[in-house]
């Protein structure tokens, strides 16, 4: 799933490791999320959205294409 994680992270001036520490996941998970290779659980999606003070749908871009690929 496409997302704006990297964009929001850079805006906040966080490194991948700092973001990982803030939401209590591994740095590798942040890398995978940013590359769109891994879709987060709803809990992690909420944690990230709350950290960046945005709605989940502003952070994770769910399209009809995603549904077809499921």
């Amino acid at each position: 799933m496409k997302n704006k994680l990297e964009e929001f992270r850079n805006e906040m001036g966080l490194t991948q490791q700092e973001l990982a520490d803030r939401v209590e996941v591994s740095r590798q998970t942040i890398i995978s999320l940013e590359k769109g290779r891994y879709n987060p659980s709803i809990i992690l999606a909420f944690r990230l959205a709350r950290l960046f003070k945005v709605k989940i749908e502003d952070l994770f871009l769910y399209s009809n294409e995603e549904e077809k690929n499921e």
Partner: protein, 154 residues
């Protein structure tokens, strides 16, 4: 703050316990083999299990000892263990390993049952040991390959 270090120390205790358990099992296998020569049971299975537990214990100690140097590294290790992506990768690897193990064990049991009534040739003592070992090693190999592949691709 100390919770992370306590968690690491607890893991290290388990590692030491598994090594002791492994040594005891190897010793037990050797003692039984010497004491009861004609048991209709391959005692290398007990020693093999001991080697397996020693491996698990050493692996745990190597993994968790490095986290003892600082609370931050202990915290990161704890996070890594509970990380949802890592848990997903472990779950998927376990699932694949399980579905490789099930048919292997089933075929071996069916062969032994049919060999017992003479429908199939019997399996020798040594071959049986290797086949049983394969039932552990092959699913474990599948687990490792799946784990490494998902770590890279996911």
């Amino acid at each position: 703050m100390n919770n992370h270090k306590n968690w690491v120390n607890n893991k290290l205790r388990w590692g030491r316990f598994f090594i002791i358990l492994g040594i005891l099992l190897i010793g037990l296998g050797i003692v039984i083999e010497i004491a009861f020569e004609n048991l209709p049971y391959n005692l290398r299975i007990i020693s093999g299990l001991g080697i397996l537990w020693i491996g698990v214990g050493i692996g745990m100690i190597i993994r968790y000892r490095s986290a003892l140097h600082g609370n931050q590294s202990a915290k990161r290790l704890l996070i890594e263990e509970h990380d949802e992506r890592n848990q997903f990768i472990r779950y998927r690897a376990g699932y694949r390993g399980f579905w490789v193990a099930i048919p292997m064990v089933y075929i071996l049991l069916m062969w032994l049952s049919l060999a017992a009534n003479g429908s199939l040739p019997p399996i020798g003592k040594d071959l049986l040991w290797y086949l049983q070992a394969a039932c552990v090693v092959i699913p474990f190999t599948v687990y490792i390959i799946s784990f490494l592949s998902d770590q890279k691709n996911l």
